[in-house]
Symmetry: C2
Subunit: 135 residues, 2 copies
């Protein structure tokens, strides 16, 4: 289950892409437009800024701005930054202690196949795809 962190991050990036402004957009504008708590969004955006997905600017006239074009943001990248690795089971997360039962685990191949599918799905989708998505 994807938590609000990942979903909100995506919505903010889509929001900024839709504004399509060269100026910095202040967080309170984004938050009220999206109906999300300002203070909570702050925490989420910190991660995006630290990883270079957004640029933040302080002071009057400050705010946030995209650092790339919408088609250069992969959804999978954003979800992994905010939610952690996109793995379905604990034993497949990077850095997990190797499962002692690994060699004859009957379910492992399924989880691996699933994870590949999920990874492909989210890494083949960009913010631009979300913009042009029609309901």
């Amino acid at each position: 289950m994807i938590s609000t962190r990942g979903r909100y991050a995506l919505r903010v990036l889509v929001d900024l892409a839709e504004q399509d402004s060269d100026d910095f957009v202040p967080l309170n504008e984004i938050a009220t437009r999206q109906g999300i708590s300002i203070k909570y969004l702050e925490i989420i955006l910190k991660t995006l800024v630290r990883n270079g997905l957004l640029k933040g600017h302080r002071g009057k006239g400050g705010g946030y701005k995209l650092t790339r074009r919408p088609e250069e943001y992969r959804v999978g990248e954003i979800l992994e930054l905010t939610e952690g690795p996109l793995t379905s089971v604990a034993c497949l997360t990077p850095g997990a202690e190797p499962c002692p039962n690994r060699e004859n685990c009957r379910t492992l191949p399924m989880w691996e196949k699933f994870d590949t599918m999920v990874h492909d799905f989210f890494y083949n989708m960009t913010i631009k795809d979300l913009l042009s998505e029609d309901k």
Copy 2:
């Protein structure tokens, strides 16, 4: 992320299918074979019994037994019983309060497409498929 509940449930069903016994298999055998806490498995198996996926029998010679053939257990069914609905986001879980932003949410179509993919993946796979899966 699929928790141990769903993973353990699958492993128990695969275990029972592999035993391929007409007798009831006591839980402590399954648990030691799988290296899982008996008490924890008890909780998980209760759900499976209540929903008719397993038959439990008390007393000496008792234990658990499959109620269907392995190919008649869909992985998706088992995961939903133990983990809850296989939805990626809160607003798509059955019985969720409708999102006020639903009509113009730019990310909703992606989540819907994703959920369909996940659902198909797990409902097109059975316990029998896990048995014959080669590493």
